[in-house]
């Protein structure tokens, strides 16, 4: 799957959430009504990704998130169970995460397939897998794969919900990749060469041992992969350097998506080997090649 462009939003959250409406207006040139923060972030990121490109009407959308539209879900639960009020119709509809896909498709004038998918620890990789399967079957020539993670104040509660320690810096973020195999999308920046799943460390080791690595390769680990394990894989594969894309990132669930935009923008040709684990013996990798 060739990558034609990326778009992102990233903002560490200290004690308040920045207003997104002015940014959304500036990025898209449009006023949107009755959409919440999750959808606003999705639109900002996708607009930055699609840029000036006129997307084919068949461009598919695959959206993922660590926790989905937390803001609307929390609001519905608190109003309903704490305050005794029934969910408002629009809030209820937006509790279904693919509501964001609807707004994305409408904004981009697409008539295409779309899907919201998630997976504990491997959400972005799974979204890529669904896109890959559709490309393999010839169902697609272009696709947007993206992730959105929002924060809900107060942050102490947010950290409990996303299961990080009380002193962990947290952020809101959105990442999009425009993937395809279509000349009208422009010049490709790189390529996702494979997204693999391994049910055990042994299976991962067999696969790693068969890689044909050269000195242009880098290796990176996800949030859960211990540093010493990454070093072990680096030594095993003889990859020359680590790509530490998470070093300066505050935490959000789909940080893995940031590896794409950061590696594509770091300005060197080469291949990134990314490894993440769920901490329960399963692993997921992807290879990102920059042209």
């Amino acid at each position: 799957m060739k990558i034609y462009s990326t778009g992102m939003y990233y903002e560490p959250v200290i004690d308040r959430l920045p207003e997104l409406k002015p940014l959304l207006k500036a990025v898209t040139g449009q006023n949107f009504r009755r959409i919440d923060r999750f959808i606003q972030l999705a639109l900002i990121g996708v607009s930055r990704c699609s840029g000036e490109v006129s997307l084919p009407i068949e461009t598919a959308i695959y959206l993922t998130s660590g926790q989905g539209d937390l803001e609307v879900m929390i609001d519905v639960l608190e109003q309903m169970l704490r305050d005794g009020k029934s969910p408002k119709p629009l809030s209820f509809i937006n509790t279904v995460s693919n509501s964001a896909c609807y707004h994305l498709a409408k904004y981009l004038h697409l008539k295409s397939r779309n899907c919201f998918v998630a997976s504990h620890c491997f959400s972005f990789e799974r979204a890529l897998r669904l896109a890959m399967v559709d490309f393999l079957q010839g169902n697609l020539t272009s696709a947007l794969v993206g992730s959105v993670d929002i924060c809900v104040l107060p942050l102490a509660q947010h950290r409990q919900r996303i299961a990080v320690s009380p002193d962990t810096p947290v952020a809101e973020a959105c990442h999009w990749l425009l993937l395809g195999d279509d000349d009208c999308l422009g010049e490709p920046m790189g390529e996702v060469e494979g997204v693999e799943h391994f049910g055990s460390k042994e299976a991962l080791l067999v696969w790693l041992a068969a890689l044909d690595v050269d000195n242009s390769w880098s290796i990176a680990g996800g949030h859960i992969l211990p540093e010493e394990e990454l070093v072990f894989y680096q030594e095993l594969t003889l990859v020359g350097q680590q790509f530490q894309y998470r070093k300066n990132l505050a935490y959000y669930d789909t940080q893995t998506a940031s590896a794409f935009s950061q590696y594509l923008e770091h300005g060197r040709e080469g291949t990134l080997l990314h490894i993440e684990t769920d901490g329960e013996g399963r692993y997921c990798t992807f290879l990102l090649k920059v042209f």
Partner: protein
């Protein structure tokens, strides 16, 4: 013959019963009116008909959820008879519109009573159900939790089949879950989409949805199907941006997703033996579906609807209605809804009124959801 995504095991729990046999028995009768739900969280005005799972008490949401999942997954895996290695490597697809929100609600209600700092959505994650199933059944393959409203498990089945067709995996388990929760019950009630009586899709008397609970599980593999075995020939997903809550009533987007599904499956409208309609009994939803179907089919095959029997099981309906549909075909008949949409006067199509005999064929299954997410699947058994 080529290798195809083939069904080798199924499990099901609906208001009709906790296994395939109980469901088949009930589907040979006529639809029964759902009982009015009794639940402490609902006011008198909110006590509506609801097709609850047979024999499962509403309290203890966590225990209830995981018991139902255990039951249907055990049934499906038992029928599939996989060895430990095959089971370990299988991929898992979960389709639901509410996932484990019933458990989150229960936890928050308890905290509101007993905690100084109650927290809504503590421990909530899309991956909770998949995580439970992986551990409970020793599955180490990749897991996908899909949330596309009422098409969730239809899309799960569509992508699971694609994974098999492209040789990414050898076995998949698709799980559909939709259990009672306050958010769904009150949310739909406020949308004024629910009827106080019975679901009568495509009928002139139709006035809304009866919600239902269901769990379903299906095991598929890539193989040459035996004569009676069902295969997923193909399908399509298409986003309709006409409205976030209903399909375009002119039927154009529904006709498009049906045509794409047929193309993907490599069949023509004339080869379809019967259609399983989405049929939500909503005014505009049925109007859109009827218009779409009529644009694609010059000569209508038999059209049936399952929701009058089990209610609208939302994110679970994709898989659950597929299981019930193919099981009735294997049992030799197409589901009938006597007295519901018995003529074409209202929307130009009528539903099967008596149990039509059928042994095999190619079948179209329709599913449409909030967020404009539309999905059609094509399944078949016998010679194609």
């Amino acid at each position: 013959m080529s290798l195809r995504p083939c069904v080798i095991g199924a499990g099901i729990a609906t208001c009709l019963g906790g296994d395939v046999e109980e469901n088949l028995y009930a589907l040979k009768q006529s639809p029964k009116q759902a009982a009015i739900i009794e639940h402490h969280s609902l006011t008198d005005a909110e006590r509506l008909p609801y097709h609850l799972l047979k024999g499962a008490e509403l309290d203890h949401a966590d225990k209830r959820l995981y018991q139902q999942i255990d039951q249907v997954v055990s049934q499906a895996l038992g029928e599939a008879q996989l060895n430990d290695e095959q089971r370990s490597k299988m991929a898992l697809f979960v389709g639901s519109s509410s996932h484990d929100i019933s458990v989150s609600e229960q936890l928050y209600k308890q905290e509101l009573i007993s905690s100084k700092e109650p927290l809504a959505l503590r421990l909530s994650s899309f991956g909770n159900i998949a995580g439970y199933v992986r551990k409970r059944f020793s599955i180490k393959g990749e897991d996908f939790s899909i949330n596309t409203a009422c098409t969730s498990s239809a899309n799960a089945l569509l992508y699971a089949s694609s994974m098999l067709r492209t040789g990414q995996v050898d076995y998949v388990l698709v799980l559909a879950v939709e259990l009672f929760n306050d958010t769904t019950a009150l949310g739909f009630n406020n949308l004024e989409l629910l009827t106080h009586t019975q679901m009568t899709p495509f009928d002139k008397a139709r006035d809304g949805i009866v919600l239902g609970e269901a769990c379903g599980a299906l095991v598929l593999t890539r193989k040459e199907p035996e004569a009676k075995e069902f295969v997923v020939l193909g399908g399509a997903n298409l986003c309709d941006t006409h409205s976030i809550s209903s399909a375009n009533p002119d039927g154009s987007s529904i006709a498009m997703v049906i045509r794409r599904a047929l193309d993907n499956a490599g069949v023509t409208p004339g080869q379809i033996r019967a259609i399983k309609a989405h049929g939500t009994a909503s005014l505009r939803g049925d109007e859109a579906e009827a218009a779409g179907v009529l644009q694609v089919f010059q000569d209508l095959p038999d059209v049936c609807a399952i929701k009058p029997y089990i209610g609208h099981t939302l994110g679970a309906c994709g898989l659950v209605e597929m299981i019930l549909f193919y099981q009735t075909i294997l049992a030799g008949f197409i589901i009938a809804t006597p007295g519901i949409a018995s003529d074409e006067k209202e929307l130009g199509l009528k539903l099967t009124q008596r149990h039509e005999s059928v042994g095999s064929g190619i079948f179209l299954l329709n599913y449409f959801g909030f967020g404009g997410n539309n999905c059609s699947l094509v399944i078949a058994n016998g010679e194609q």
